[in-house]
C-alpha cells in the first residue's frame, strides 16, 4: 500500500534552501552597512577614518577565521541552534550600537560580535547546508546561494542609504535588526539539521546512501584538526592558495580600490560606484551559471578559466582606465561574471577531495585564506599607492597572481588522484 502513496509534492530540501538563501541575503546586507556608515559615524562621534576602519578590519578577519569553528559547531550542535544563537548575537550587537559612545564599543560590537556571528551565517553555512541536503543540483543551489551575496548588497544598500539620509545612521541598525527579528521565527520553525530529521534522504541521493555521522567531540578541536589535516594535503595548499589569490583580486583589490582608481582617471564617484554595482549584477548571473556548470564540467577546468580570464582582465585594466568608458565596461562585464563564480567549484572540489563529513570545516579554512588574501591586497594596494601614486603596479601584480592561480588549480587532485570523474565522463564511460 505504501508504494502506491503519492510522492511528496516537493522535497523539503528546497524549503531549507529558501531559508538559507534569506539568511545569506540578510547577512550580506548587514556586511554591506560599514560602507554607508563610515562617514555618518565619523561625523556623529568625531571618530576618524582609521578608527572606524579598524573595526571593519577586525570584522573582516574574524568573519573569515571564525568560519571553520562555526562549521565544527554546526557539526556538533546542529545548524539550527548555531543559526539562532548567531542571530541572537547579531541582534544584541545591533541594538547596543544604537546606544554606544566610545570606539572600543564599536570594536567589540561590530568587530567582534557581528564579525563572528556573520561568519557563521555566510558562505560556510551555504556550503554546509548544500552538502547535507543536496546531491543532485548541488552546484546550482550553491551558485544561487552565493549569488545572494551580491543580491543582498544590491537590495539593502540603496534602502539603507535612503534611510540614513532621512533618519540618521541609527536607522541602519534598526533596519537590519528588524530583518533579523523577521528571520528568527522562520528559522526556528522551519530549519532542520539533517534530512533524516524529516525522515528523508538528501535531494537526489541514492536510496541506499548513508548520511554522515553526527560528529562528537570538542568543536574547537575538530576545527583545529581540520586545519592540521588540510596542512598535510597538497590539494589543500593548492585550494587555499588559489582562494587567497581570489580574495586578493576581488574584495581586496577591486572591491576596495576600483572607485578611487577610477576617480584618478577622471571618472566621477557616482559613476564608479554604479560600475561596482554593475559588477554585482553580472556576479549574480555568473555565479549561478557557475553553479550550474560545476554540476557538469570538471571543476578544475572551470576554476582555471575563471582565474585565467580574471588575470587577463586585470592586465587589461590599466589600458581600460586610460582609454575610456567602453573598455572599462568590458572589464566590468568580464570581472563581474567571475567575481564569486570561483566559490561553487572550490566548495565542490573540497567535498570531493576531503569527503562530505569534513568538507565544511576544511572549506571554512580555505575561506579564511580568501579573507586573508582580501586583507593583504586591500592593505598592499593602499601602500603601493602611497609610494607610487598609482594603482597600475597593483593591478598588474594582481593579474599575474591570478594567472598563477590558474596554473595552481589545474594541478589539484593529481598527486592524490582524488578527483572523481564528472557526471558527463561517467555517462560516457557507461556508454
Amino acid at each position: 500500500m505504501k508504494d502506491r502513496a503519492a510522492p511528496p509534492r516537493f522535497h523539503y530540501a528546497w524549503v531549507i534552501a529558501i531559508i538559507t538563501f534569506l539568511t545569506l541575503l540578510t547577512t550580506a546586507g548587514i556586511r554591506s552597512t560599514p560602507g554607508v556608515l563610515l562617514v555618518p559615524l565619523g561625523e556623529d562621534f568625531h571618530w576618524n577614518r582609521a578608527t572606524v576602519s579598524l573595526a571593519i578590519a577586525i570584522n573582516l578577519v574574524l568573519f573569515g577565521l571564525f568560519g571553520p569553528f562555526a562549521a565544527a559547531l554546526m557539526d556538533r550542535f546542529g545548524v539550527r541552534r548555531v543559526m539562532l544563537i548567531a542571530f541572537g548575537t547579531i541582534a544584541c550587537a545591533l541594538l547596543l550600537t544604537t546606544i554606544m559612545t566610545e570606539p572600543w564599543q564599536l570594536y567589540i560590537l561590530w568587530g567582534g560580535m557581528v564579525g563572528t556571528s556573520t561568519g557563521a551565517t555566510a558562505t560556510v553555512l551555504a556550503a554546509f547546508v548544500t552538502n547535507r541536503w543536496f546531491v543532485k543540483q548541488r552546484g546550482l543551489v550553491l551558485g544561487v546561494m552565493t549569488a545572494s551575496n551580491a543580491t543582498g548588497q544590491l537590495v539593502f544598500l540603496p534602502l539603507l542609504a535612503t534611510l540614513i539620509t532621512s533618519f540618521g545612521w541609527r536607522a541602519a541598525s534598526w533596519t537590519t535588526l528588524t530583518a533579523i527579528i523577521i528571520l528568527f521565527p522562520l528559522v526556528a520553525i522551519f530549519m532542520r539539521n539533517r534530512p533524516s530529521d524529516k525522515g528523508l534522504k538528501a535531494y537526489g541521493a541514492e536510496p541506499d546512501a548513508v548520511e554522515p555521522e553526527r560528529s562528537v567531540g570538542n568543536p574547537f578541536a575538530n576545527a583545529i584538526n581540520g586545519l592540521l589535516r588540510g596542512l598535510r594535503s597538497r590539494d589543500f595548499w593548492l585550494l587555499s592558495g588559489s582562494f587567497f589569490i581570489c580574495g586578493a583580486t576581488t574584495n581586496g583589490l577591486i572591491g576596495t580600490h576600483l572607485i578611487p582608481a577610477s576617480m584618478d582617471h577622471g571618472i566621477s564617484e557616482v559613476t564608479a560606484a554604479s560600475l561596482l554595482a554593475l559588477i554585482g549584477i553580472f556576479d549574480i548571473i555568473g555565479t549561478t551559471a557557475s553553479g550550474w556548470l560545476s554540476d557538469r564540467v570538471d571543476n578544475r577546468v572551470l576554476l582555471a578559466w575563471y582565474y585565467g580570464l580574471r588575470g587577463l582582465s586585470l592586465l587589461f585594466l590599466p589600458y581600460a582606465l586610460g582609454t575610456g568608458f567602453l573598455s572599462l565596461a568590458v572589464f566590468i562585464v568580464f570581472y563581474g561574471l567571475d567575481w564569486v563564480a570561483t566559490v561553487p567549484p572550490t566548495v565542490r572540489l573540497t567535498a570531493d577531495i576531503f569527503g562530505k563529513a569534513s568538507a565544511a570545516v576544511i572549506f571554512g579554512w580555505i575561506f579564511a585564506a580568501h579573507q586573508l588574501g582580501a586583507a593583504f591586497a586591500s592593505f598592499g594596494a593602499g601602500t603601493l599607492y602611497t609610494i607610487l601614486g598609482d594603482y597600475q603596479v597593483s593591478f598588474l601584480l594582481a593579474g599575474l597572481l591570478s594567472l598563477i592561480a590558474s596554473g595552481l588549480v589545474i594541478r589539484i587532485g593529481h598527486k592524490s588522484g582524488k578527483i572523481p570523474p564528472t557526471p558527463k565522463e561517467v555517462s560516457q564511460q557507461a556508454a
Binding site: 577546468v301 582555471a304 585565467g308 588575470g311 587577463l312 582582465s313 592586465l315 587589461f316 590599466p318 589600458y319 586610460g322 582609454t323 573598455s327 568590458v330 609610494i387 607610487l388 601614486g389 598609482d390 597600475q392 603596479v393 598588474l396 601584480l397 593579474g399 599575474l400 594567472l403 598563477i404 590558474s406 596554473g407 589545474i410 594541478r411
Partner: protein
C-alpha cells in the same frame, strides 16, 4: 566544435585588445627645445622653465632638478605636465649659470636623461663650460637591454614552437620525444620570465648607471607604459605555463591555444619594435618576421634536442624533409620581411651609424647560417648533428644581434 571555435576567436580578440597599445613611436623621446634655451643669457630671472619633447612623456623622479650657480639644488614647485611639455615654476635669486637636469620616460617606453644650462645676468665661470646633453644611453643600460631582448627572443622561440615541430615534422611522437619537447617549452617559459627583470634594470641603468637599483626610479618606470608592457609579457609567459599544464593532461585544444597565444605575442612584440611608422603594413612585417624566426629557431633547437634519440633515428630522413620545408618557408618570410623593413628604414638610416653597422652584421651572420644549412645537408648522416649544433649557435647569435638592434636608437 563551433562553440570552441567561437570561444577561441573571442579569447584571441580579447588578448589582442589587452596586449595592444594606444600609440607607439619609434624613437627615444627627443628633447625638442627648452625655454630658457640652452646657453642663453637672460636679463631677468625666469619664473618658470618649459621643456618640450617629441612625444608625450612622464617624469621619473626626481624629474626636473635645477642647480644654482653655487652648485646647490634649488627647491622648485611641482612640475606640470601637458602632453609633450613640462613646466616647472620656480623662483631664482642669484645671478650666474644655472643647470637643469631632467629625466623622463616616453610613450615608446625608453627612459631618457639630459641636461642644459642657462644664465641670468652673467655666466658663472665654473659651470658655463658644460655642454648640454640631449639624452644618451649608458653602456650598461644598453647591455642589459640587449641581453633581455635576446633572452626574450630565445624564450619565445623555445616556448611556443617546439610543439609546432612536434605536430609537423614528427611521424610519431614517442614519449621520450614528448618529454624533451615539454622540457624545451618549460625552459622557454623560464627565459621569457627572466628576460623581464633584466629589461627593467636595463631601463633604470640607461638613465644613469648609479640608478640601476634605485627603488624610486624603478617604481616610476613600472608605473609607466613600460610597466604595462612588462606586465603583459610576464602575463603571456604565465599564460603559456597554464596552457602547458593543461596540454600535458591530454587536452588537445590547449595546444592550439598555445599556438594562438604565440601569434598574439608576435603581434604585441611587433608593435613595440622600431619600424612601425607604416601602420598596419609595418606591423604585419614585424609580426611575420617574429613568427618566422620562431618557427626556424624553435624548430631547429627541437631538432637538435631530439636528433640523437634512438627511436627518432629511423625518422631522420622524414624529419629533414618535413622540417626542411617548414624552415625554407620561414627563411623566405624572414628574407622578404627583413629586406622590406630595412628599405623602409633607410629613409632615416645611415649605414655608417651604429644601427646601420649592426644591421649589416645581422645580415652577414644570416647568410652564414644559410651556408651552414647546405653544408649540413651534404655532410654524412653521422656528422649532421654537429652541423645542426653550429647552425643553432649561428641562429642564437643572430638573435643576440637582433636584441642589440631593438635596443639601439635608430639613425
Amino acid at each position: 566544435m563551433h562553440l570552441k571555435l567561437v570561444l577561441a576567436t573571442f579569447i584571441c580578440l580579447f588578448l589582442l585588445l589587452g596586449f595592444s597599445r594606444a600609440s607607439v613611436a619609434n624613437a627615444h623621446s627627443g628633447f625638442l627645445r627648452s625655454d630658457p634655451a640652452d646657453n642663453s643669457i637672460l636679463v631677468t630671472a625666469p619664473d618658470m622653465i618649459n621643456i618640450w619633447f617629441s612625444e608625450p612623456i612622464r617624469l621619473i623622479r626626481p624629474g626636473v632638478t635645477v642647480f644654482s650657480p653655487s652648485g646647490n639644488k634649488i627647491e622648485t614647485d611641482v612640475p606640470v605636465i601637458e602632453g609633450q611639455k613640462v613646466t616647472v615654476p620656480l623662483k631664482l635669486t642669484q645671478n650666474g649659470t644655472y643647470r637643469v637636469v631632467w629625466q623622463v620616460i616616453s610613450e615608446d617606453t625608453h627612459p631618457v636623461r639630459g641636461s642644459f644650462s642657462f644664465s641670468v645676468g652673467n655666466q658663472s665661470s665654473q659651470l658655463s663650460g658644460n655642454s648640454a646633453e640631449f639624452g644618451s644611453v649608458s653602456l650598461l643600460g644598453l647591455g642589459l637591454q640587449t641581453l633581455s631582448r635576446w633572452l626574450h627572443f630565445l624564450g619565445y622561440a623555445l616556448g611556443f614552437f617546439p610543439i609546432l615541430f612536434g605536430l609537423f615534422a614528427l611521424k610519431n611522437r614517442t614519449e621520450q620525444a614528448e618529454k624533451i619537447i615539454w622540457r624545451l617549452v618549460n625552459s622557454g617559459i623560464l627565459l621569457l620570465v627572466v628576460a623581464e627583470p633584466l629589461a627593467l634594470f636595463g631601463q633604470s641603468a640607461s638613465l644613469d648607471e648609479s640608478q640601476i637599483f634605485d627603488s624610486i626610479t624603478i617604481g616610476d618606470i613600472l608605473a609607466s607604459n613600460f610597466g604595462r608592457v612588462l606586465g603583459q609579457r610576464l602575463g603571456a609567459a604565465l599564460l603559456l605555463w597554464v596552457l602547458v599544464s593543461v596540454a600535458r593532461q591530454g587536452n588537445t585544444a590547449a595546444r592550439s591555444a598555445i599556438l594562438a597565444t604565440g601569434i598574439v605575442l608576435a603581434v604585441a612584440d611587433g608593435q613595440s619594435s622600431h619600424a612601425i611608422n607604416f601602420g598596419i603594413a609595418g606591423l604585419a612585417i614585424n609580426t611575420l618576421h617574429l613568427l618566422a624566426m620562431g618557427v626556424w629557431v624553435g624548430g631547429l633547437f627541437t631538432l637538435i634536442a631530439i636528433w640523437r634519440l634512438a627511436e627518432i633515428a629511423s625518422q631522420r630522413q622524414y624529419i629533414i624533409k618535413r622540417f626542411g620545408r617548414l624552415a625554407a618557408l620561414a627563411v623566405l618570410v624572414l628574407v622578404t620581411t627583413g629586406v622590406t623593413s630595412s628599405i623602409l628604414q633607410t629613409y632615416k638610416l645611415e649605414i655608417e651609424s651604429n644601427y646601420g653597422k649592426t644591421l649589416i652584421l645581422k645580415l652577414l651572420v644570416f647568410v652564414a647560417a644559410i651556408f651552414i644549412v647546405f653544408a649540413g645537408l651534404r655532410a654524412s648522416l653521422f656528422l649532421r648533428w654537429r652541423w645542426w649544433l653550429v647552425e643553432g649557435l649561428a641562429l642564437a647569435s643572430i638573435l643576440f644581434i637582433a636584441g642589440l638592434l631593438v635596443s639601439l636608437p635608430v639613425g
